[in-house]
Amino acid sequence: MDVGQMRRQWVEYTKSLFMEGFLDSQFEQLQQLQDESNPDFVVEVVSLFFEDSERLLNDLTRALDQPSVDFKLVDSYVHQLKGSSSSIGASRVKNACIAFRNFCEEQNVEGCRRCLQQVKQENLLVKNKLETLFRMEQQIVAAGGSIPNMEQIGF
C-alpha cells in the first residue's frame, strides 16, 4: 500500500471516529497542539488518559462493591473521569459519565453499577479505536509520509 492510500485510509478512519461519536472537537484541539516541537503530544496525552481511566475504573469497581456505597466518593471518581475524558475529546466516555453522575445523585446503586459497565465498555472501545489510529500514523510515518492535517482537508 502506498503512502497516499495510507493517508486516505487514515482520513477515512478519523472521520468515522468523529461521525460515530467516539471523538469530538476537543480531540482536534489536541491534534492542533501537536507540532514539530511536540511530535508525540496526542499520543502522550491519550496515554495519560488511559492510565488515569484504568485507575479510576478500578477505584470505582471497588467503591461500588462495598456493602454500603460511599456515593460522594463514587461521584468524585466519576467527576475526575468525566473531566479527563472531555479533555481528550472521548465524548462517549464523557457522556456515559454524565449519566453515571445522575445515578450517584439519586444514590441508585444498581444504576451506578450499570453505568460503570457502560463506562468501562466505552473506555475500552475508544482505546481500541485510538490504538488503531496511532498504528496507522506510525505506518504512515515509517513509510516516509506525514500525518494529514484535519484542518486542511476541511473536516
Partner: protein, 344 residues
C-alpha cells in the same frame, strides 16, 4: 528587549502569522511589526531602531534604511540596474530573500537571530502560572499556553501556587502536606508571574480559595487570575468574577480561550510600566481588523498580533539606549515581589 524584526509592507496582512507561527507550525518568537500604511521615513529614523528589517522592496523606500537588513522582494531576487532602486549594492543589507517567503528563508532568519543576537535575550515573555490537580489538564494547558508563546509554570495545587508566588501559607483551615518544604519568600523574588490560571475544583484549596488569597495579598493582588471549571454553574462563575477573577473558562480550555488572556496581561504590564497614556494610541492596523472576515481563531490571532504591536510601539518609542539599560537593569523584575514577608 532583544531583537526586533520590523516587517514593513504595503500589505500588512501578508505578515500575519510569520512572526509568531509560521509555515509547518514551527514556533517563532520574533517580535514582528507590520505597518500599513508604512510610517513616515523620518519617523523610522527618529523613533525606531531595528536589528533586522523585513521589507517588501516593491513598496519602495527601503534603501533609506541603513541597518542590518533583510529584504523581502517580490518578484524574486533583484538584479536592478536602476541606481534609484534598492539592490544588494546600494543598501547595507544582509540578504535578499524572495517572496513569498519559503520555510528555508525562515530558517535562515532563525539562524540570524540565534547567531547574531543570541536567543537567550528574547522579547520579555509573559509568564503564566497554571494550577490544576489533573495531570492531563496540566499537560493540556501547558501546551496551549506554550503554543501562544507564554512561559509556563504548572503546579498541582493552590498551596503550591502560593508557595511558588512566595506567599507563605499559614492558614490552618487548608490542608497542607506537611512534607512540602516551606520555601522562603526570598527565593522567589525574581519570579515574575503575569497571570495565574487555575482550576476551580481541586482537593484542599479550591481555585476560588486561591483567588481570594491572591486578591487579599497586597503583593499579589495585581496579578490577573483566570478560573477554569468543567461545570457551568452560574453562581460559581459570578462568585469568582465578583472576587476579582478576570475570566471564567469552561473546561476543556481551547485555543480560542487562551487568546483572551493577553489583554489582561497587557493591562497589568502597562500599568506597571506607567505607560497607560500610550495605550490609547491609534493603531494604523485598526482598519484592517474590521476587514478580516476569516475564522474566529484567525481574528483572535490578529488581535494578539495587534497587542504585540502595541507593546512594541510603546517599547520602541524609547530610544535604543534606554532599552539596553532596561535590559540589564534588575528593575525589570517587578518590585512587588520584594518584601513578601509583610503579606497575609
Amino acid at each position: 528587549m532583544g531583537e526586533h524584526a520590523w516587517g514593513m509592507r504595503d500589505e500588512a496582512k501578508a505578515w500575519h502569522g510569520m512572526g509568531s507561527k509560521s509555515q509547518k507550525g514551527i514556533k517563532r518568537n520574533w517580535p514582528l511589526v507590520a505597518t500599513s500604511p508604512p510610517p513616515a521615513q523620518d519617523m523610522i529614523w527618529d523613533d525606531i531602531w531595528s536589528d533586522l528589517a523585513l521589507w517588501d522592496v516593491d513598496f519602495g523606500g527601503s534603501y533609506y534604511f541603513n541597518t542590518k537588513l533583510l529584504l523581502l522582494s517580490s518578484p524574486p531576487p533583484l538584479a536592478s540596474t536602476d541606481p534609484t532602486q534598492p539592490s544588494k549594492e546600494n543598501i547595507n543589507c544582509l540578504k535578499l530573500i524572495p517572496s513569498p517567503c519559503s520555510a528555508i528563508w525562515l530558517l535562515l532568519l532563525d539562524l540570524h537571530f540565534a547567531g547574531a543576537m543570541g536567543m537567550a535575550a528574547t522579547e520579555s515573555q509573559f509568564h503564566v502560572l497554571a494550577v490544576d490537580d489533573s495531570l492531563i489538564d496540566r499537560k493540556l494547558i501547558e501546551r496551549l499556553l506554550k503554543t501562544s508563546s507564554y512561559q509556563v509554570t504548572t503546579v498541582d495545587s493552590g498551596s503550591k501556587a502560593l508557595e511558588f508566588l512566595g506567599l507563605r501559607e499559614d492558614d490552618e483551615h487548608h490542608h497542607i502536606n506537611p512534607d512540602t518544604p516551606c520555601v522562603s519568600p526570598n527565593n522567589h523574588q525574581e519570579v515574575e508571574v503575569n497571570l495565574i490560571i487555575t482550576d476551580y475544583c481541586m482537593p484542599g484549596m479550591t481555585g476560588y480559595d486561591l483567588l481570594k488569597k491572591i486578591k487579599e495579598s497586597s503583593s499579589l493582588k495585581n496579578i490577573p487570575v483566570v478560573i477554569m471549571s468543567s461545570e457551568n454553574v452560574p453562581s460559581r462563575i459570578s462568585r469568582c468574577l465578583e472576587e476579582g477573577a478576570e475570566e471564567f473558562f469552561l473546561k476543556p480550555v481551547r485555543l480560542a480561550d487562551v487568546n483572551k488572556l493577553k489583554p489582561h496581561m497587557m493591562k497589568t504590564k502597562s500599568r506597571d510600566e506607567k505607560l497607560e497614556k500610550q495605550e490609547n494610541q491609534i493603531n494604523p492596523e485598526d482598519k484592517l481588523d474590521n476587514q478580516d472576515s476569516r475564522s474566529e481563531l484567525h481574528k483572535q490571532q490578529h488581535q494578539d498580533h495587534q497587542q504585540q504591536q502595541q507593546q512594541q510601539h510603546q517599547a520602541n518609542s524609547n530610544k535604543r539606549k534606554t532599552m539596553e539599560e532596561n535590559l540589564n537593569s534588575p528593575d525589570r523584575t517587578r518590585p512587588r515581589y520584594s518584601g513578601l514577608t509583610t503579606v497575609v
